[in-house]
């Protein structure tokens, strides 16, 4: 049993500033959870509080049902992999991996066996007698993981362990970590500011900002239904296009009008957005929902091409809409699409996954949730059902009610 419960946990510094504020989250036994957020958002501090390396100012922390708020790190049986790997430079790989077991008085033969097993698992067997300085970045990273694995901890806490690796090695290690999680079945909390890691590795993403956990959910759910403009922009590259607009009624329908564009609201969202008719809104469109070819139901807009980024697999068009207050938007188009800089070109908006945000609060206006894949609509269930399916933190978040209602 290795669940981790953060019960309204806060970290208040002597200066009066909050490092972490009222985080309320339950991480299930064997779950792979990602803490995602920009630098200084409190994600590493939260991780260190779980490890016992930072004191908790208020709230309670339970691991496996036992309160460990005032328990020192050595008695929590948690393993941490640091961004710097924190390998002991004066010890060999073997000594690094065996240090934790030695501290716990494990017999030498058992230590040797566990080191051998972990080294085999991670491909470190040839390097056991080397010092960390004689290893490459990827090897050091694996030693740090091995040091954690041999101890057989109740949970692994990973503090941006991939951020010092090059892009290719990072992609490989991402996959390795996911496989390792499947094989070990232990709870993993992984801190990162990399959206790709967040989207591909975890069972759930917890997005943090200014010390608060602002949205918790499955990666695709969070991607499809961000609670506010911050999450909407943070979770992808290029980020969601946010266009200041006005929601107006036209006959039976609704149209989002901005400087130079008019996007009819699809029928599936009309009822949800109807109360906001006549108000200023922010229209949120993902770059992949802008297309170069028309299909039934798509809305036509015109953009002035500012830049074309050819990524090989696709082309990113950066364009400008509007004249009085021009807004730059990005569109993911096919790799065959080209357009000269400065040209005026049409794009076609698939408005089904659209979002509207309140410009004052920046929070999403509630609407039915799309099924993963963008096809059908998940109909509102009984009020209790979605709330129960949400993690505790999400259900207590200000924006969670919007999700729950949908």
């Amino acid at each position: 049993m290795s669940s981790i419960e953060l019960d309204h946990v806060s970290k208040l510094y002597a200066s009066g500033a909050y490092g972490v504020r009222d985080v309320d989250l339950t991480i299930g036994d064997g779950e792979f959870v990602i803490f995602l957020g920009p630098s200084g958002c409190g994600k590493s501090t939260t991780l260190r509080m779980i490890a016992g390396l930072e004191s908790i100012t208020s709230g309670d922390l339970r691991i496996g049902g036992r309160s460990v708020t005032h328990v020192p790190p050595r008695e929590r049986n948690i393993a941490v992999v640091f961004q710097s790997y924190a390998l002991y430079p004066h010890m060999s790989v073997r000594e690094n991996m065996g240090f934790g077991l030695k501290m716990r008085g494990t017999p030498r033969a058992v230590i040797e066996e566990k080191i051998r097993d972990a080294a085999q698992l991670l491909g470190l067997a040839p390097y056991l007698d080397r010092k960390p300085a004689a290893l490459s970045g990827g090897q050091r990273q694996r030693v740090a993981l091995g040091r954690a694995i041999v101890r057989d901890p109740v949970a692994f806490l990973l503090d941006e362990p991939l951020s010092n690796l090059d892009a290719q090695l990072r992609a490989e290690m991402r996959l390795e970590l996911v496989k390792l999680h499947r094989r070990l079945g232990r709870t993993i909390v992984h801190v990162t500011h990399d959206q790709v890691e967040a989207m591909t590795m975890g069972d759930r993403i917890c997005i943090m900002r200014d010390g608060r956990m602002i949205q918790v959910g499955k990666p695709l759910e969070v991607y499809a239904d961000p609670v506010d403009t911050f999450v909407a922009r943070f979770l992808a590259t290029p980020p969601m296009n946010l266009i200041p607009a006005r929601l107006e009624g036209e006959g039976d329908g609704l149209v989002v009008k901005a400087d130079g564009i008019a996007v009819p609201v699809p029928e599936m969202h009309r009822a949800a957005y109807a109360p906001a008719a006549g108000r200023e809104v922010i229209l949120g469109l993902r770059p992949e929902d802008l297309h170069e070819t028309a299909e039934p139901g798509f809305a036509r807009i015109e953009v002035t091409v500012v830049a074309m980024e050819a990524l090989g697999v696709e082309n990113i068009l950066v364009g400008q809409i509007g004249w009085d207050k021009p807004v730059e938007i990005a569109a993911r188009l096919s790799r065959h699409y080209t357009a000269p800089i400065g040209a005026r070109v049409p794009l076609y908006v698939d408005a089904r996954p659209m979002h509207l945000f309140d410009p004052e609060t920046t929070r999403a206006l509630p609407r039915p949730r799309l099924a993963p894949g963008g096809g059908g609509v998940i109909l509102p269930a009984s009020p209790a059902a979605p709330a129960a399916s949400l993690p505790r933190a999400a259900s207590t978040l200000p924006g969670a009610s919007a999700l729950a209602r949908s």
Partner: protein, 266 residues
């Protein structure tokens, strides 16, 4: 090519400026006393000055005293310096004021405290004793060593200690098993610098020591007699006095460089 010649000429000149006095001292130490002011390059060569230094003066005893006092004061001061430096580096121990207060003791001219120290030591019966000198040098070197080691500890990532603590070590265990071994170069550098400071110190040794406990600088000063300075003998003494510093610096050079730069390069 011309640039390289100019550069090397400049370097040779700089080396000459630094090394010539030392080479002159070595030369004089090998000349008979009557020829010590000769203008010839090497009018003779003898080891008589070295022999005389050990047979007709207490230089050998002073040499041993200096070694005992310098090594002893470093051994006494280093553990305190390491613990205080670590506390300053890792925690908010006494804040900026504490750090400044430690440094402030170095700002007093030694002559201002030598007489109070003499008075206290006389009451405590520590004058004319090596123990007294070890204590006073340990105290004098402590602020300097604390600052050197503080910089060194600040350069050691706190992640290492956190990793040790999550691996099952106590805070003390993390310091003892991880921080201390990792900082050995810094501690060695601090130790050598403390040794050099003590080895060269003159004022306190002059006031607090007696004939039996005089250190090398005091012994060298005593070679100035009513008949004048015995320059050849003094030179031999200087050559021997410089010897341990040269050996120590040679072996611990890289530690000194690393120790002095570790804290600033992150």
């Amino acid at each position: 090519m011309l640039r390289r010649v100019a550069l090397h000429s400049g370097l040779l000149l700089a080396c000459a400026v630094i090394l010539l006095p030392l080479l002159w001292v070595v030369r004089v130490s090998l000349l008979p006393e009557p020829l010590s002011y000769s203008t010839d390059l090497m009018p003779g060569a003898t080891l008589d000055n070295y022999v005389a230094l050990f047979t007709t003066t207490r230089y050998g005893q002073s040499y041993l005293n200096s070694l005992i006092v310098a090594v002893g004061s470093v051994i006494v001061a280093l553990p305190f310096a390491a613990m205080t430096g670590y506390a300053f580096a890792r925690f908010k121990t006494s804040g900026r004021f504490g750090r400044f207060a430690v440094l402030a003791t170095q700002m007093l001219p030694p002559v201002a405290i030598v007489l109070p120290v003499f008075t206290l030591f006389r009451i405590a019966g520590l004058t004319n004793s090596l123990t007294g000198l070890v204590i006073v040098y340990a105290a004098l070197n402590l602020p300097f060593l604390i600052w050197i080691l503080m910089g060194f500890f600040e350069g050691i990532p706190v992640d290492l200690e956190w990793a040790a603590q999550t691996d099952g070590a106590t805070a003390w265990g993390a310091f003892w098993r991880i921080v201390l071994p990792v900082s050995l170069p810094g501690i060695a550098a601090a130790g050598v610098l403390g040794f050099i400071l003590t080895w060269n110190e003159f004022l306190f040794a002059l006031v607090l020591s007696g004939p039996q406990t005089a250190t090398v600088p005091v012994a060298l000063a005593s070679l100035q007699t009513s008949n004048g300075v015995q320059i050849a003998k003094v030179s031999a003494g200087v050559v021997l006095a410089v010897l341990p510093l040269v050996i120590a610096s040679r072996f611990i050079q890289r530690f000194i460089v690393q120790g002095l730069t570790f804290g600033s390069v992150k």
